[in-house]
């Protein structure tokens, strides 16, 4: 009898932890999911102002401006559409014009995209899979490489 009630307690503790874990995971997931768009998809899907999203594409040649007091502005393109990005932080060292980039942030009412982070990989031969996919869809990217 003792052993049985003890087993019951063990199982209930495990069930509580399990339910807590699942509940917490689903709850936390709602706010933490970030969707990825290519510039053309942004034009079609119109993500809301302030909604946290990621945009990937190429940094348009000649588009990078460096304001006198810090930060950087640039244009992300997939050949078909362009997005103007404002970034107050320090650009990663591998950021280059004409190369792939992923920016995370939200649209401002002005139509510009305010990035809170800019990802460029620390391997210059690498293209983020989403970016390669987006570029292939718009016909800019014909390269193969690791994306077969």
């Amino acid at each position: 009898m003792r052993a049985r009630s003890q087993r019951l307690i063990m199982v209930s503790v495990a069930a509580v932890v399990l339910v807590a874990a699942i509940g917490l995971a689903l709850f936390a997931l709602r706010d933490a999911i970030v969707l990825f768009y290519s510039p053309s998809e942004v034009a079609a899907a119109h993500p809301g102002y302030g909604e946290r999203i990621r945009i990937g594409g190429l940094v348009e040649d000649g588009s990078v401006e460096r304001p006198a007091d810090g930060g950087a502005n640039f244009v992300v393109t997939d050949g078909a559409a362009t997005i103007r990005v404002i970034y107050a932080g320090s650009l990663p060292d591998l950021f280059r014009e004409g190369q792939g980039v992923v920016v995370e942030g939200a649209f401002l009412h002005s139509g510009e995209f305010e990035a809170s982070s800019v990802l460029a990989k620390h391997d210059e031969t690498y293209m983020p899979p989403e970016v390669a996919e987006a570029l292939r869809e718009s016909g800019v990217w014909q390269g193969g490489g690791e994306e077969e």
Partner: protein
């Protein structure tokens, strides 16, 4: 010629691993001493082959033999000598060779050192380890051979990524791999125990020392990687909940659960099935980590040679391991035997809850890491799961672990231990908890920070009480495993505190400064005094002189380097470390002002009490080493008399 010998040696390792499977299996089934010797010698020969192959690959790097594709892609004539050697394991093929060398090393070590008193179990484990060797050596030989030649031989080599030229990063992979691969011993021993129908206690005793060493190495490897990210990447952080980081954190959690549950199983036979299950899962998780890192199925801030075909290979290996292991577990776990049972407030009960919480963290991290993949299967692509998810799910469980951590060492095995004496003790520990919570409240801290401070007071008091209880300072020499436990627990507390302190830090400040201009952050004023050229042997550099004023004057010299051979820019962060935290400064790109001045972008952050993280990792590693040493000594003593 050297490359061809290397290729041959890998095939040799593969062949002898096959022999090791057969001989080990026969030795266990037919109780044949001759077969057992053959299995052991096969393992030693395979080890010699793979180790010499690895040495030959190093020689190829030293010779800069760019006719070998792997060398051409990962080395460069201008690379400093030390990093030519370190580049051997810097890419996919070489790191897989290192993985295989360690895996075969574990096979040889099992044959040589494991289970002197239970040869049957040992031989079975050696045989299963042989199977793991064959799977990974096959992958190495057929899909990732580091000795493949190039037809078109380059003159210089392409691998000069300067960020990767760093001492911490050079030793980070080998340390991490000792951890990942070390867990294979626990896998083989658990699988062998299930096949042989051994009791849970015997299995736990057999696998515990291997799990402990592997977990210690895993801790050191993860800490080195975080340290590198902190000061070399210049992002100002040390943990980003990136898939690659999660890939190492999940086996760490499972192994931490395993070393706790195996103590309980060893002592009283409880949790026997769970221990065997964790042993199978730990190495499966390691393999899954390798899959996530190399297949490129998830977007990660860390780069690796990405190749879907290789990803499929590793996925197949992982399916065989986890599928086979779990099937075996399902068929045989009934034979593990029931434990002695335990009371509700015994140490076993607390270890059980510890394991539930660790498993819950591992489960939620796994779910969040794989969620983008799961959604891809449903046709929804391009989702990523932010750090907010991982912070929100992991923190409550880790906090609950910290609440229980100080109590468990005071509880007896099997019996109820929550008596008046422990209640009194706990009441005493609550006092520093309440005091530090009040202190945080008076400083105007956030509710989370107040709760953390209170928790910190509680756990620190508990760990000190554990020291006091055992008068460890006097008995340190004699009781290594006890000291190991206390050190590791103190390390966990220090890391938790460091993480909390870090989360209270203000966000970074980025501003472009011309000479004489300032950035002000709380308690600090930074003035750009000037920027000069500071070129090095293979790079051009700007070095800023930044005068820091926090009542006392000091200077910081961050650099921005350009490596022309690699066409890469890097930053050398300048850090002013103190008890309160690190002042962390990096130098960004210059820009011209309209009046002709040049302004340099300066990025500043203050990271509170980062040293706690380093201290914590050091304490855990020391604790793990001590516990392993204590165990080795007590085994020696048992054998001696």
């Amino acid at each position: 010629m050297i490359a061809e010998i290397g290729r041959y040696l890998i095939a040799l390792g593969l062949a002898f691993s096959l022999l090791q499977i057969a001989a080990g299996w026969h030795a266990a089934s037919a109780k044949s001493q001759m077969a057992a010797n053959l299995a052991a010698r096969s393992a030693y020969t395979a080890l010699a082959g793979v180790v010499v192959a690895f040495a030959l690959l190093i020689v190829l790097f030293l010779q800069s033999d760019f006719s070998v594709a792997y060398v051409a892609n990962h080395s460069h004539v201008d690379k400093p000598l030390f990093y030519k050697v370190a580049a051997t394991w810097g890419g996919h093929e070489g790191s897989m060779l290192l993985w295989c060398a360690l895996l075969v090393g574990v096979g040889a070590a099992l044959a040589r050192f494991a289970l002197k008193q239970d040869e049957q179990l040992r031989n079975r484990a050696v045989s299963i380890q042989g199977l793991l060797q064959v799977l990974f050596l096959g992958f190495l030989a057929f899909a990732s051979n580091p000795f493949d030649r190039l037809l078109d031989i380059p003159i210089q080599g392409a691998g000069l990524n300067p960020i990767l030229q760093d001492p911490a990063l050079a030793i980070h992979p080998p340390t991490l791999y000792i951890g990942y691969v070390g867990l294979s011993a626990a896998f083989s021993l658990a699988a062998a125990g299930l096949i042989e129908g051994r009791g849970g206690r015997a299995i736990a005793t057999a696998l515990r020392p291997w799990a402990l060493i592997a977990w210690t190495a895993l801790t050191a490897g993860i800490a080195l990687g975080a340290w590198w990210a902190y000061y070399e990447l210049g992002w100002g952080g040390w943990w980003f909940w990136d898939p690659v980081e999660n890939a190492s954190f999940m086996p760490w959690l499972i192994a931490a659960a395993l070393i706790h549950s195996s103590i309980a199983t060893e002592k009283s036979g409880n949790f026997a099935g769970w221990t065997a299950f964790l042993a199978i899962m730990a190495f499966s998780m390691s393999t899954m980590g390798a899959f996530l890192v190399r297949s490129g199925v998830l977007t990660s801030v860390h780069a690796f040679a990405l190749d879907p075909e290789r990803g499929l290979w590793i996925l197949a290996i992982m399916t065989i391991l986890a599928g086979g292991g779990l099937t075996l577990f399902a068929l045989r776990s009934g034979r593990l035997g029931a434990g002695d049972g335990f009371a509700l407030t015994s140490r076993e009960a607390f270890i059980g809850v510890n394991n539930l919480l660790l498993a819950a963290v591992a489960g939620t991290v796994l779910f969040g890491t794989l969620y983008p993949l799961i959604m891809t299967a449903f046709g929804v692509t391009g989702i990523s799961v932010g750090a907010a998810y991982f912070n929100a799910t992991a923190t409550p469980f880790l906090a609950a672990l910290l609440v229980l951590l100080p109590l468990a060492p005071f509880l007896p095995w099997k019996k109820d231990g929550f008596n008046r004496r422990l209640a009194m003790r706990a009441a005493v520990w609550i006092l520093p908890g309440v005091l530090s919570g009040l202190w945080a409240f008076m400083l105007g801290a956030s509710p989370v920070a107040i709760a953390s401070a209170a928790l910190a007071g509680w756990t620190i008091a508990g760990v000190f009480a554990d020291v006091w209880q055992h008068r460890v300072l006097q008995e340190l020499g004699a009781r290594f495993s006890l000291a190991g436990r206390i050190l590791a627990h103190a390390g966990v507390v220090a890391i938790a505190l460091g993480a909390v302190a870090d989360s209270t830090g203000a966000p970074e400040t980025v501003r472009a400064l011309a000479e004489g201009e300032q950035i002000e952050i709380p308690n600090y004023t930074l003035t750009l005094d000037g920027v000069r050229r500071a070129d090095g042997p293979n790079y051009l550099a700007d070095e800023a002189r930044i005068v820091v004023d926090n009542g006392r004057l000091s200077e910081l010299l961050p650099q921005r380097r350009f490596y022309s051979a690699a066409d890469t820019t890097t930053r050398e962060v300048a850090i002013n470390s103190g008890f309160g935290g690190d002042l962390y400064v990096s130098l960004g790109e210059p820009r011209a002002r309209e009046n002709g001045d040049i302004a340099y972008e300066v990025r500043v952050s203050f990271n509170p009490m980062v040293w706690l993280l380093g201290l914590g990792a050091l304490l855990i590693v020391l604790g793990g080493l001590m516990a392993s040493l204590g165990r080795a000594l007590s085994v020696k003593r048992l054998e001696a008399g």
